[in-house]
């Protein structure tokens, strides 16, 4: 699963800049995501990881710089536009509505409507079809959560994250972005979510993963994008660098000459 430099990146960014008042969150950041890979985004707090992700998922609009989807320039003004282009994001813990059931959460914001007249005029939902398709999506990722009519609050943290990932995977035709998907989970549940991420990759969708958990990142990622002070300082692989070396790059203790930089 190593990156092939000759291929066109699925998602690419060049020279992204974002200021918040006097704070510079992104200072000319580049980004490349290749087909079929799990790319981990690592960096110290305030390095600009979240801002970069937000720019890629349409949650913020960068002040400068360009974003390319399959080589074509794109300008996302909001998360909806990014999603329409096949980029789905799993947010840390505000992804689901706990009182709604699994099927409703999976289709939240893009409910399936009945195809007859009452579906078109009165916008009546097609509940049976949503339940059926939700079951298929959940089964697709081998998540065991029982009934699709269960409200999400009855699920464990790992199961909830499973539903959030399933939603992203079901609708992401190009990219899945995950912001700290295991931060709130125990060891065993984290393991389950990591399996899910691999499952998403196996189905052909590349994944961008933000994580603070170095052992986890080294276990799962094909490549690591290291950020420092609002820029990409290196792109490394678990094979090319040790965890200590990665941390040194993050903190600026080591020089930023990664072998596959650029």
């Amino acid at each position: 699963m190593s990156a092939v430099a000759a291929r066109v990146p699925v998602l690419e960014a060049r020279g992204l800049v974002k200021h918040y008042g006097v704070v510079t969150a992104l200072d000319g950041a580049d980004f490349d995501l290749y087909p079929g890979e799990i790319l981990a985004l690592i960096g110290d707090n305030g390095a600009g990881k979240s801002t970069l992700i937000k720019a890629l998922s349409g949650a913020i609009v960068p002040d400068r710089g360009e974003i390319f989807l399959n080589g074509t320039p794109v300008h996302f003004r909001n998360p909806l536009e990014a999603r329409r282009n096949g980029i789905e994001t799993v947010y840390q813990d505000l992804a689901l509505a706990p009182a709604l059931d699994i099927a409703e959460n999976l289709f939240l914001g893009r409910e399936l409507r009945r195809r007859d007249i009452i579906g078109i005029v009165l916008r009546v939902t097609d509940r049976p079809r949503m339940l059926r398709e939700a079951r298929a999506h959940i089964a697709d990722l081998k998540i065991n959560v029982g009934s699709m009519k269960q409200s999400v609050e009855t699920l464990s943290g790992g199961q909830r994250q499973g539903v959030a990932v399933a939603r992203a995977a079901a609708f992401a035709s190009r990219v899945v972005i995950m912001d700290e998907p295991t931060a709130a989970l125990g060891v065993r549940e984290s393991g389950m979510v990591l399996d899910l991420i691999r499952e998403v990759r196996a189905r052909g969708t590349p994944v961008v993963l933000i994580s603070h958990n170095m052992p986890q990142v080294f276990e799962i990622a094909d490549r690591l994008h290291v950020m420092r002070l609002g820029r990409r300082v290196a792109t490394i692989t678990p094979a090319s660098h040790s965890m200590t070396e990665a941390v040194a790059l993050m903190t600026g203790a080591a020089s930023s000459q990664g072998p596959t930089k650029g």
Binding site: A97, A99, L100, T125, R127, G146, S151, E189, M192
Partner: protein, 332 residues
């Protein structure tokens, strides 16, 4: 196989507790309604007569309609203190136009409902555009509507209303009981709202917005549009409640509806809808409205002084909120 076992093992415990809490909030109001009815049937001879049941349906119709709008707003984790005052202003506008200014009664009704809709839109814009808390917004519009009611009416009750304005006070006989069209309208509006809330895309978005606005917004729900629609619809319903009220009393009364905001909130909460948003049902609100109505009526029949009805209502509402709060705390 191992993975399968692990998934289920984690999900079990919180699930059972929440299912129990949900059952309590759904069945609780119905059981309370049943017990109250049985109690008053045993203690008084007059409770279970057709005349009295007919009276109850007439008494609860106005609050029943208001409470539908209140349910919509509470489902979005808001609250509306202005509903009673807005309704009162609506009654004055429609009766004053029809009687004093000789406006066509149907146009007068439309304008009366229109000002209520206008207040709903105003509430909605203040909540969504200025992002002010609903409690404060509706406290403000409560006072504005209250003042406008008294200014436009000159503190005078408006009588001699033309027929169309009092239509919903008309009655028909059904199964030996006298029923007003206003009561039928209240039930019909409840059923329509239930359908919209549970079966349509917009209705599900109301629940999602109330339950987790951030998640809803990130999932592509236009939450501000949902909120605006909810406040506007509630305003429209207050206008309809105004029409039902005028039909029931036969006059435009500037003093009307002063406790209707708390009555409607009580009905919603007793009916099992959570003040924290995203959970509940407008059918529960109908049951809640009946519970409050039956308590008022039954205590009256028992000869209990009116002030104790307030006491009982207060206890009911605290009890309902406590059940809701405790069931939420357990799952945290």
């Amino acid at each position: 196989m191992l993975a399968r076992l692990r998934w289920t093992e984690f999900g079990r415990d919180p699930g059972a507790a929440i299912a129990r809490a949900r059952l309590i909030s759904t069945l609780g109001p119905l059981i309370a309604l049943l017990l109250a009815s049985i109690f008053f049937s045993i203690r008084t001879d007059r409770f279970l007569t057709t005349e009295n049941l007919s009276l109850i349906t007439q008494q609860v119709a106005v609050v029943g309609v208001l409470a539908i709008g209140q349910t919509l707003i509470i489902l979005t984790a808001g609250v509306d203190l202005s509903c009673g005052a807005v309704m009162a202003f609506g009654t004055i506008v429609m009766t004053k136009l029809a009687v004093t200014h000789g406006v066509n009664p149907f146009l007068a009704i439309a304008l009366g409902i229109g000002v209520c809709l206008g207040f709903g839109v105003l509430n909605g814009l203040l909540v969504t555009v200025l992002r002010l808390p609903p409690f404060i917004v509706t406290l403000g519009t409560l006072n504005i509507a209250f003042a406008l009611t008294h200014i436009t009416s000159n503190e005078e009750t408006i009588a001699n209303l033309p027929d169309p304005v009092v239509f919903f006070g008309n009655t028909f006989r059904f199964a030996g009981t006298t029923i007003t069209y206003g009561s039928v309208l209240a039930v019909a509006l409840t059923l329509i709202t239930w359908f919209v809330l549970t079966k349509t895309v917009g209705g599900r978005h109301v629940y999602a917005t109330g339950n987790n606005p951030d998640a809803a917004r990130l999932a592509g729900v236009r939450t501000r549009r949902v909120l605006l629609a909810v406040y506007a619809t509630a305003g429209l319903l207050y206008g309809i409640a105004a029409l039902v009220l005028v039909g029931r009393t036969g006059v435009g009364d500037p003093q009307a509806g002063q406790s209707a905001n708390l009555d409607s909130i009580t009905a919603v909460v007793v009916g099992g809808t959570s003040l924290f948003g995203g959970r509940g049902s407008v059918l529960g609100t109908l049951v809640g409205t009946l519970i409050v109505g039956i308590f008022r009526n039954g205590l009256q029949l028992l000869g209990v002084a009116a002030i104790y009805q307030f006491l009982i209502t207060g206890v009911l509402v605290i009890l309902a909120v406590a059940v809701d709060q405790l069931s939420r705390r357990r799952q945290a």
